[in-house]
Amino acid sequence: MTTDPDEEFTALVERQSRFVFRVAYAVLLNAHDAEDAVQETFLKLFRNRGWQQAGNERAFLARVAWRVAVDLRRRFPILPPDVAGRMEHPKPDPASPLPGPDETLAASNQHALVHTMIDTLPEDLRVPLVLSTFEELNSREIGQVLAIPEGTVRTRLLRARQMLRQKIETAQAQRQEVRRA
């Protein structure tokens, strides 16, 4: 157990920076803006040392990062997802016959396709989905982060997954049609 505040903060950054980045990205949909939000978030944490008194570290960090990202988006409105694009992954074209069926089914392209679909979700569905998927936050904690009731979180998670399934099925059906043609 470390007692030096600097070491604690460094450990916090190494432990939670990716999580904070994903929260910010779910709001901003841009890697550069999300990184700015992450740095702003940790700068605030460094100044007020608020995470040390927080009961749930992840929920607290998610709350701070979400607020910073929303504030950043107010100051600098984001472009639509299809214009801004994703920084890390190439945007696939579901209707394009060029990649071929085998390459289309490759994992990277599938993930890129799903990422693009997640980006096109409404924010009130996208953020709970991102928080619930790999951040190990339950519906009650997500509700605390987003200041919404726990039941609303569950409803939104369900709707988000349904919309993504429909999008994926539609995309796969289009590819099959292209392959047949």
Binding site: A31, F134, R165
Partner: protein
Amino acid sequence: MPDQLDELLDSALATYAEPRTGLEQRILARVEQARFSRGTPWRRWLGWGLAATLAASLLLYFEVSGGWHRRMNAEQTAPRQEQAASPRVPDASQESIRSLPSRAPKWASAPIRHRSTWGEMTVATTPKLDVFPAPQALSAQEQALVELVAQPPDVQRQILEKTRQNEAPLSIAAIQIPPIPPPDEGQK
């Protein structure tokens, strides 16, 4: 099929929003930079301190300079104000009235404008006189008339008579020169 979709969805969500490598180092560098700038507050306050000192010095300079100008103006206008504020009243007992200037200068009663050091125009006016225009000194004839009027009537009469006598044409009696007796010839 739904199971495959869920697996695809979960695996895609697991790789959603991956940051660029080195995120932790960039965060720590940013925090370190902020801490450095925060840990040396004297650098931030140094500029403000210098600016405040300069402003105080300028303020003091203008205050001293302005006070000096005001004193100079006051010294220049004071004699004029004294002259204009205390006009000589005609008095028979005064003998030095002829030494006064015959006419007060125009600038004595005019407002004196001067620009202060702060750039604003201030107007220094002479005190308002009770009698305007300021009385002028009496001439010799006027002074003599005042003196005459001040005398009692009988004295006035005597003075006037005397003056009349003085102004009357002189009557010079004919010069009578007795003839010089001729020298005695018989004595030769």
